[in-house]
Amino acid sequence: MKLEWWKYLSIVILLYTLLFGMLVPLGPGIVEVSPSRATTGAQRSFDVWGYNTRFKDFDAINVVLKLDDEHCLPAADYSVESDYHLKATFDVPSMPEGMKKSEFATMIIYPAGSGTAILPSAVSLQDGEGGQVSTHWVPEDDFTFERITGLHFPYRNILMESIRNTYFHVALWFAMMFILGASMVYSIRYLRSGNLDWDLKASAYAQVGIVIGVMGIATGMIWAANTWGKAWSWDIKQTMAAVALLIYLAYFVLRTSVEDQEKRARTSAAYNIFAFATLIPLLYVVPRLVDSLHPGSGGNPAMGGEDLDNTMRLVFYPAIIGWTLLGAWVSQLVFRFLKVQHYARSKNLTEQY
């Protein structure tokens, strides 16, 4: 009996991804701090606007401005206006010695809800006239923060809820790699055996891989429009992804342009291996060498840190498996169609090419 269960497993996994990925709330975050610049040496108050925060639930909240690990400043006083709005007052001392005259400070609020709310570069501090305050910068070890408590996805500035796209946009690209990889393996198998079935399989998997790639670019453009400000900014990652897809489109142009079956199978199999070999550097090497807006470029890691924590891994890895299995299922359907079509043509039951 043929294995069928994995096809239905893909649906189950994708449903799980959809439910888990959409229903788990984000941890607390800070949307805006105003004013966003201040001079030191005097008392300064800030309005803080939170996201998914529950300021009213807590009797004592730590509001901290942080320059670096050794230089933090707790708020002198704060007042909770609502669950999402908090006013904090700091007695800001002069910039610590050995530091630049103007520096960005991170705002940290704990507890803010289910964990800590953090906004990097929240306030631009500038050395001013002063010395009227008696406070000092203290090391961060004086405070204890718990980043996230309970089941929550991390709140990321700019990304906000769209961090959930990791389970769709990113997982789709991973699935495309697996599907196109399978296509290449079938091409190699064809070249080793000469069995035309493998060639049809390679073609079917490449078709589905391309469709997933186009979906990846389209979803990426939507995400970019709302985070980078432009749908298409000729970012190196976007450009290289488009180039990679064009290389694969040429694979199908090649297939339709060669009349002889054996010849078509052989040349397209060789081209498929070449296409997959260029895909890896185009998507994963070149964008890392230059500056890019996309995570995973210009030296910064894509998968790790705050962009993908353990709660997200619970959804992200199944999402990759789910999309890959679904892609394989559809590829199998295409292969079966191609095989019947091939048989009908070889028996002259339908028109030739």
Binding site: Y51, E161, F168, V208, F337
Partner: protein, 87 residues
């Protein structure tokens, strides 16, 4: 030919005049590029919705991609079936 083009233009015009279509296009535009709005409006929109509509749009596009491919595959199969029946 000219008559056909005029009819087509008329049809498109009346289609565009439908309120639903206009409302839809406005919503679509708004969801896909909120950056087109004023700066403050954009900020308020993001603050209230947390960019959740970006995720919805991405899911819809992924779903549509699969569906369109299946429709295309369906068409190819039907064409082959027609060919087989004719012979």
């Amino acid at each position: 030919m000219e008559l056909y083009l005029a009819r087509l233009r008329n049809g498109l015009q009346s289609f565009y005049n439908m309120r639903i279509f206009r409302a839809l296009s406005v919503i679509l535009l708004a969801f896909t590029t909120p950056a087109l709005w004023g700066q403050t409006q954009t900020l308020d929109y993001y603050r209230n919705t947390g960019k959740i509509y970006v995720v919805i749009a991405v899911i819809v596009v992924s779903f549509l991609g699969i569906v369109l491919f299946l429709i295309n595959l369906d068409r190819r199969i039907r064409k082959m079936e027609k060919d087989l029946n004719q012979k």
